[in-house]
């Protein structure tokens, strides 16, 4: 057993997946080999398929839709999970005022509008001056422009989030901005931010203040691609607050900030050089006046909480497939009755019951195989389509695709239904030969 375990573990992942598919298909294929041994029913099966091509087409479509639902749901759920995790990947550790980690994560990582309490200048300074901290980027949100969130932060955070800019340069004054990859603003465009988001945004609240786009980030696959990033000093200034620096600092932007002139920030992204450092920082900054959490962990908890929903969806997909399969088998029994006279003819001219069994099984197997393959393709297309919709609505890049998991799901379905297809085949051999011949 150990040697098999070692052998299995030593196989490349692709080889393991292919072997699992082969193992899942094996019962169905073995059934086919046993049923068809010694016979050549191909021409008859083709004739049966052509005989009621519309009915057969409907059967294939029914199978395809049921398979596509299973494939689409599985692929989409995984794509969404991976997309949301990818969007949070750049956010190592977030420190915020005590409250809901999920609310802060939704606001700071996924840029969902929400009101959260602020960290003070002293708290920020404690974070920024910790010896294990290599990056402490304040993130301030609440404004928007043309539906795009306007987020105040530091130049280091922009580089950390998206690397080198795709176009232009990083902001150098509090009136400059860098656009996300898909933000609805052009390089060189100036705009006045609105206070708030969506329908309740106050367009005139910051009249007289404006930013000019001087750079564009590369795509990150996260909601930040539609955001406009500005120096946090700019956000404070348009709200009539101090800009984080003493008046003597002049036009300085970026850290260090002066705690006495620091108006507050909803969240701080914190990085450490090493993983152990991040855990140490989380431990240090988890205290009564602030909280520190890993977005990845919170996300995993959310995915875990949603497991029940996921399982319910999977169950729904399986129930759909089972119901469709039962309908198909019942339909096949009915269709077989329509072919009863032809099948009786075969027996009359000397075909054994086993041959009739093989013909009906092959006919059923062809419909099942065609429907399943079509379903795999449809499921893939559906997952792609839904991915585009979800990406457009959430700005989280969801790239759902058919993987070995879906292929294995379909292989299992095919194998099971090929075995269940023995039932209508058996029913066909139990019919009264002479009665069918006369009808």
């Amino acid at each position: 057993m150990n040697s098999f375990g070692d052998f299995w573990a030593g196989l490349p992942a692709a080889a393991q997946d292919i072997l699992v598919v082969a193992l899942l298909l094996l019962p169905g294929l073995a059934t086919g080999l046993i049923v068809l041994r010694g016979y050549a029913p191909g021409r008859l099966v083709r004739a049966m398929l052509r005989r009621f091509s519309v009915s057969n087409g409907i059967f294939v479509c029914l199978i395809a839709v049921s398979v596509a639902i299973g494939v689409g749901l599985t692929a989409q759920e995984r794509g969404l999970r991976q997309g949301s995790a990818r969007a949070a990947a750049a956010f190592d550790l977030i420190v915020a005022a005590p409250g809901s980690e999920i609310t802060v994560m939704l606001a700071a990582v996924y840029l969902q509008p929400s009101d959260v309490p602020l960290l003070t200048g002293d708290q920020y300074t404690q974070i920024a001056t910790d010896p294990d901290v290599t990056l402490a980027a304040p993130i301030a949100f609440g404004d928007s422009y043309d539906g795009a969130p306007v987020v105040g932060t530091t130049a280091d955070f922009v580089t950390h989030l998206a690397g080198d800019l795709a176009d232009g340069r990083i902001f150098a004054t509090s009136a400059e901005a860098v656009a996300g990859a898909f933000a609805p603003v052009a390089l060189g465009e100036s705009f006045t931010p609105a206070h708030g988001h969506g329908a309740t945004a106050e367009d005139a609240a910051h009249a007289g203040s404006s930013y000019t786009i001087i750079g564009r980030m590369a795509a990150t696959g996260s909601p930040w691609d539609r955001a406009i990033l500005v120096p946090i000093e700019g956000v404070w200034e348009v709200h009539g607050l101090a800009n984080g620096h003493a008046p003597a600092a002049g036009d300085q932007i970026g850290p260090p900030f002066d705690a006495a002139y620091f108006p507050g920030t909803p969240a701080v992204l914190v990085r450490a050089d090493a993983l152990w450092g991040s855990y140490a920082l989380q431990s240090r900054f988890t205290r009564p006046d602030m909280m520190a959490f890993f977005p990845g962990t919170v996300l995993a908890q959310m995915h875990s909480l949603m497991r029940d929903v996921r399982e319910a969806m999977s169950l729904l997909a399986v129930v759909t497939q089972v119901l469709v399969t039962v309908s198909i088998l019942a339909g096949l029994v009915i269709l077989t009755r329509i072919f009863a006279r032809g099948l009786a003819l075969l027996r009359a001219i000397g075909a054994g019951r086993r041959f009739v069994f093989a013909v009906v099984w092959s006919y059923s197997a062809t419909l099942i195989a065609a429907g399943s393959l079509l379903g795999l393709g449809l499921g893939w297309l559906a997952a792609m389509g839904f991915s585009h919709v979800i990406t457009a609505r959430t700005d989280i890049l969801v790239t759902a695709s058919v993987t070995w998991t879906e292929v294995q799901l379909v292989a299992g379905f095919v194998s099971l239904t090929l075995i269940l297809a023995l039932l209508p085949a058996l029913a066909a051999t139990r019919r009264q030969l002479l009665t069918d011949l006369r009808n």
Binding site: L44, R51, G350, A351, L437
Partner: protein
Amino acid sequence: MAVLDAGQHPGLPLVVTDLDLRGIDGRPLVSLPRLNVTAGSSLAIRGPSGAGKSTLLHAFSGLVTPAGGRVVWGGTDIAGLSDSARTRFRRQNVGLIFQDFLLFEELGALDNASLSAAFAPRAERAALRDRAASWLNRFGLGQAGTRRADSFSGGERQRVAVARALSNDPAVILADEPTASLDRATADRLIDDLVALSQDSGRTLIVVTHDATLATRLDRVVTMADGRIVEDSDE
């Protein structure tokens, strides 16, 4: 349809004794104390509808299991065989022609004529298809091999059905009302050709028909009524 070079074939004699055929409800359908058919001869079974002609023919082919009696073809009592053994007997010895020919409409002439190749042992398939093609050629349907059966005329369908019955080189040909859906001229030609085939090749031929004129073209005619033979041209 002209029968050319049909080749000699050892037909099988038929000996029927005390045959008792009943319906599913046990109602008597046919009672036949004795009937002998010589190998290579042709026999017409005629009579009104409901006389039991087709039921008797089905018993001769093993499609019906008698409640009693024996149906012996060349020493083999098919009434005592299992279902699978009777099926095998049909495959090896009997060519069946049905009233409405029973073709697979989506298959071509050759695929219909060589239908039994699909379940024949692999070694025999090619020969069976060759034989079916050869019969189709002889019946003037050599060019119709791939045409779908649903495009055939009644005469063409009948010839494909005969080619199918002959494709397994049977010793016995059993035809159930083969002329019922044909016009007079085509029906006459079919019966003449089947008789000629029987005479030339030595196959035993039994034809069920309600047509008295056609029946007289065969070597012998028995007439049935109410499940019994009431007249035999040989007696």
